[in-house]
Symmetry: C2
Subunit: 193 residues, 2 copies
DNA sequence: GTCTATATTGAGATAGAC
DNA sequence: GTCTATCTCAATATAGAC
């Protein structure tokens, strides 16, 4: 769903902003946040560095705008109410595979953001806590959420991140089969010992 | 080119080298590879930047030396012959938890090394392929290795990396319980198809 | 082997013209 | 809104003294 076009200079500014965000995902995604200069992103947008800074006053501001953008998009794309959760998650993984640049940016960012002084550290901290709880609710499927559901949600997130790492490192690595195998494992309860 | 004239001089150079590598793990581990300067590492070793460069002529050379060092250490620490694999892996995870700096460096590096032009890219590519096969052999426990074993090995590595990410992001996150839960899941075959 | 001093490069950010 | 020009800072790396 696209928003109605706004008038005049504002519409143009907004469009440019979108274009910059898209390019930023590509370029940050290829080389990482720290290793990418504002000049490179500016060049990819056909702008000078100063021109880019008109839209995003600092590199950090650009990063955070990016992060919010993605946050917003992700929330739109969940439709687990209509599907069993294993299939809903699988669908979402396929979507991620189609946006390699964004996935790459994410993998890269999480690593850096591990540092407590990284500009996106707080964001990631909160985001992981949030999706652990979200996933647990989904996996509990209408029952009250148990600690075991939380454990399985934690593992699903780990598997997700971990498989993405292996894929990003090696183009020929196919996440689909291991992911589906994981869905099967997570659909069962372990046998007690 | 330069040959050690005495055992003494050589030993001192080697000791310094070791000390540098240890400090480098700490400092790179705290701030990541790109975000850490050679000066910071030099300072941690009580050296000037130029003094550090005497031992490792470039930042990249230091990184690669580090990577080989760790490679060497890891190989010594596997003793799965004496334990069921689930317990052997759990032991190894506990070891990793004790060396937070090294784990942090690794998580950080893998993200960056996703880029094909990163100095450590080749290393990580080969390393993941290698441990996938190694883990598959261990998990097959004396039977011939099947594709399903390879799938489970891939998942174990993913879980490992993924849980570490969550831990590094959040000190209060405890990997032990989810890891053990994962070991239970991976010890079973999924029902039906 | 380690230092000081410095060359060189590239980063983020600012000022002000158009 | 975008540019050129420039400031400031910090990085890697080199040269050469001790």
């Amino acid at each position: 769903m696209t928003e109605p076009k706004k008038r005049g200079a504002y519409a143009k500014g907004t469009a440019k902003r979108e274009q910059i965000l898209q390019q930023a995902i590509e370029v940050f995604g290829r080389f990482g946040f720290h290793a990418t200069s504002m000049r490179e992103i500016a060049k990819a947008c056909g702008l000078s560095q100063a021109g880019l800074l008109h839209h995003f006053p600092t590199k950090e501001a650009l990063l955070l705008a990016l992060v919010e953008e993605r946050e917003h998009n992700q929330e739109v794309s969940i439709h687990h109410e209509t599907l069993p959760w294993a299939e809903a998650f699988y669908e979402r993984m396929l979507q991620n595979m189609e946006n390699e640049a964004l996935t790459r940016l994410w993998a890269n960012l999480v690593g850096e953001a591990t540092d407590r002084k990284h500009p996106a550290h707080e964001y990631f901290l909160e985001r992981y806590a949030k999706i652990r709880e979200e996933f647990a609710v989904i996996m509990a499927s209408n029952s009250p959420v148990t600690d075991e559901d939380r454990l399985r949600a934690t593992l699903l997130i780990a598997i997700w991140d971990g498989l993405q790492t292996q894929w990003l490192l090696d183009d020929t690595f196919d996440m689909r089969e291991p992911f589906q195998y994981a869905m099967k494992l997570l659909s069962q309860k372990p046998i007690d010992r």
